[in-house]
C-alpha cells in the first residue's frame, strides 16, 4: 500500500514537472469550425476566389503551427442576399460553427449580419466597406478598411507634403462608390480648412473632360481631389496633364489600380491614393506572403486575398485567447484584439468592432506605385 502510494506520488510529481516544462507540445490544439460565406459562382466569383485562397493559406499555416486546429466550412452565396442568408443559417444551425467569415458584399452583410448577431455567432466581414456594418450588433466585426478612413489619410499626407491650401474637386455623380468617396474628400478638406475652388461632376463613360478641366485649371488650385473609378480616372489624368494641370491628384481606392498606369502612362505620375494593401511593401512579412501566395495560386495576392488572410489570423489569435470553441468567448476575445501585426499592417478593433489601422499612402512615381512619404 505504502509502496503504491509512494509510486503515485512520484509519478504525479513527475507528471507535474513534465507538464510545466513542455506545456504547448502536450496540450491539444484548440479546435474550431469556422464558416465562410463567399462568392464562389456567378459574377464576382473572382473576389470569392481571392478571398477563399487567402483563408485557405492562413488555415494551413495556422494548423501547421499546432496551437489551433481550424476547419473551414465554405458556402457559396453567388453574391445574392437570400443565398447568403440560407448559407449563414446552415452554418449556424446545422454545422454549429464557432464563427463566420464573410460574406463578400456589404449588401449581403446587411441581411446575414443581423441573423448571426441574433444567434450569438461572431461574424467578420473581410471585404465589406459600406457604412454601418459593425453597428448591426455586438457580434459583427470587420477588418476591411472603409473609404471614409482611407481617404482622410491620403488627403492629410498630401496636404502636409505639398503645402496644399486650395483644392478643386471632381467626381462621378452617378455611382454610389465615387459619390461617397467624394463626400469623404469634401469632409477631409473642410476638416483641414482647405479652400475649395470648384466642384465639378462627370458621368460614367463620359469621353470629354476638357470643359471641367479648363474650369479647374482657371481656378489655379494647389491640388485636385478626384473621386473616380480607374477607367474614368485614368482618362481624366491623361487629359488633365496634357492641358498643363500638373498639380498632384488625390484619388480614392477606386483609383488604386495598376491599370491607371497602363492607360494614362506618364500622365499618371503624381497620383496619391490610400490603400489597406500594398503588395510591393518593403516588409519581410508582406514579401513572404506575396511569394508564397504567388507560388500557390500563380498570381499576386490582391487586396481581397490579403484582407482574408489577415482575417483568419485574427480569428486564430482570438481562438487561442478564448481557449475553446465557444461563440461568446470567441466574441469577447475578438473584441479585445489590439495591435495585431498582419500583412496589412498594425490592426486593432475599436469599441464598435470597426477597423483601426494606418492605410498605406501610395504615389505613382516613375510609372509605378510607391510608398508616399
Amino acid at each position: 500500500m505504502r509502496k503504491i502510494s509512494k509510486f503515485f506520488l512520484t509519478a504525479s510529481i513527475l507528471a507535474l514537472v513534465l507538464a510545466q516544462a513542455i506545456p504547448a507540445a502536450q496540450a491539444a490544439p484548440v479546435a474550431a469550425k469556422i464558416g465562410v460565406i463567399s462568392i464562389i459562382t456567378g459574377a464576382g466569383a473572382a473576389y470569392g476566389e481571392a478571398i477563399t485562397n487567402g483563408f485557405k493559406m492562413a488555415r494551413d499555416e495556422l494548423n501547421a503551427k499546432g496551437e489551433v486546429k481550424i476547419e473551414l466550412l465554405i458556402e457559396d452565396s453567388s453574391g445574392k442576399q437570400e443565398q447568403a442568408l440560407a448559407a449563414a443559417q446552415k452554418l449556424i444551425n446545422s454545422q454549429q460553427v464557432t464563427a463566420i467569415l464573410g460574406p463578400t458584399l456589404s449588401t449581403e452583410m446587411k441581411v446575414v449580419g443581423p441573423e448571426a448577431n441574433a444567434s450569438g455567432v461572431p461574424i467578420m466581414g473581410t471585404s465589406t466597406t459600406a457604412a454601418g456594418i459593425t453597428q448591426i450588433g455586438k457580434y459583427v466585426f470587420r477588418n476591411s478598411l472603409p473609404e471614409s478612413l482611407a481617404i482622410p489619410a491620403s488627403v492629410k499626407k498630401a496636404v502636409a507634403k505639398y503645402n496644399i491650401k486650395s483644392v478643386a474637386m471632381l467626381y462621378g455623380n452617378d455611382d454610389v462608390f465615387t459619390k461617397s468617396g467624394f463626400d469623404s474628400m469634401k469632409k477631409a478638406a473642410t476638416d483641414l480648412g482647405l479652400k475649395v475652388t470648384t466642384i465639378e461632376e462627370f458621368q460614367k463613360g463620359q469621353a470629354d473632360y476638357k470643359a471641367q478641366l479648363t474650369k479647374i485649371k482657371a481656378t489655379k488650385p494647389d491640388a485636385v481631389f478626384c473621386s473616380a473609378l480607374y477607367e474614368e480616372g485614368a482618362v481624366i489624368l491623361s487629359q488633365a496633364r496634357k492641358m498643363g494641370i500638373n498639380q498632384p491628384f488625390v484619388g480614392g481606392n477606386g483609383f488604386n489600380s495598376p491599370k491607371v498606369i497602363d492607360i494614362a502612362k506618364e500622365a499618371a505620375n503624381g497620383l496619391v491614393v490610400a490603400t489597406p494593401w500594398f503588395a510591393d511593401k518593403n516588409d519581410p512579412q508582406v514579401k513572404a506572403f506575396v511569394q508564397k501566395y504567388e507560388k500557390a495560386y500563380g498570381k499576386k495576392p490582391d487586396q481581397f486575398a490579403a484582407q482574408a488572410y489577415d482575417a483568419l489570423y485574427i480569428m486564430g489569435e482570438a481562438l487561442k485567447k478564448a481557449g475553446q470553441a465557444d461563440r461568446n468567448k470567441m466574441r469577447d476575445a475578438l473584441a479585445g484584439i489590439r495591435n495585431y501585426n498582419g500583412v496589412l499592417g498594425k490592426f486593432s478593433f475599436d469599441a464598435e468592432r470597426d477597423v483601426v489601422m494606418d492605410p498605406n499612402v501610395l504615389i505613382i512615381k516613375d510609372g509605378k506605385f510607391q510608398i508616399f512619404n
Partner: protein
Amino acid sequence: MFFEQLINGITLGSIYAIVALGYTLVFGVLDIINMAHGEIFMFGAFVGMLLISYFEAPVLLALGGAVLVTAAMGLLLERLALRPLRGKKGASHLASLISTIGVSIILENLAHHLFGAGNKPFPTSFADASFTVGSTTVYLVQVIILVIAVLLMVGLSLWLRKAKAGKALRATAENLETASLLGINTGRIIVSTVVVASAMGGIAGVLVGMAFNYVNNQMGLPMGLKGLAIIILGGMGSVNGAMAGGLILGLAETFVVAYGNSGYRDAIAFVAIIVILLIRPQGIFGQALPEAKR
C-alpha cells in the same frame, strides 16, 4: 477662359457633326437609321489607335487606315444587312433598323474579343503641344481636329453640290424611283452612300481618339445616341443640319459645364434640343413637309 471653352466646344461639336453626317447621309438616301454606325465609328478609333501605337504611324496614315477598314465594313454592312431586306415583299420598314442593331451588337462583342475590355490609351506625339494667343491657350490637337473636320464638311458639301456622283446621290435621296428612271444606277449610289458614311464614321473615331486620348469597345453607343439626337435636331437627312446640330450640342455641353453645373451636362444639352424641336418640329434645316419629297 471663355475662348478656351469656346474652342473646347467647337472641337467637340465638330466631332459630333462628323458622326451625325454618317447618320444623315444614310437616312437621306435609304430612309433608315443605321444603328451600327456607332460601332463602325468605334472600329475606326481602334484601327487608328493600333496604327499609331504599334506602327507609330503619322496621323494621316492612321486616318487612311481607319477609312479603309470602315469603308470595307460599310460595304459588308450594305451587302449582308441592308440589301437582302431592301424591297423584299412583306419586309417591314423597321426590319433594316433591327438588322443594323444586330450588326452593332456583333461588332461590339467582336471588338471585345479582339481588343479586350476597358480603356486603351491613344497616344499622339503632339498631344500636349500648345500655343498662346493673348491669354488663351490653344492646343495643336484641337486645331488639327478642327482643320480635318472643316475640310471634311466643306469637301462633302462641294461633292454633293458639284460632282456628278454627288448630284446623283441627292437625286436618289429626293426620290429613288424617279432617279432610277432618269438613268441613275441607284443600287450603286446606295452602296457608295453607306461606304462614304462609314468612312466618315472611321475618321470621327480617329479624331475622338486624338481628342480624348483613349478608345474602348463601349464608346460606340453613347456617341451614336448623340449622333441620332443631332440629326433630329438638325433635320433628318439634312447635311447642313447635321453640321449645325453637332456644333450646337458640342457648345451647349461645354458651356453648361463652364457656366453652370457639370452634373447637368447631358440633361441641359438635351433639354435645349427639346426646346428647339418644340419651336421647329422638323428640325433646324428639316423640310416642313417631309411627305412632299417622297
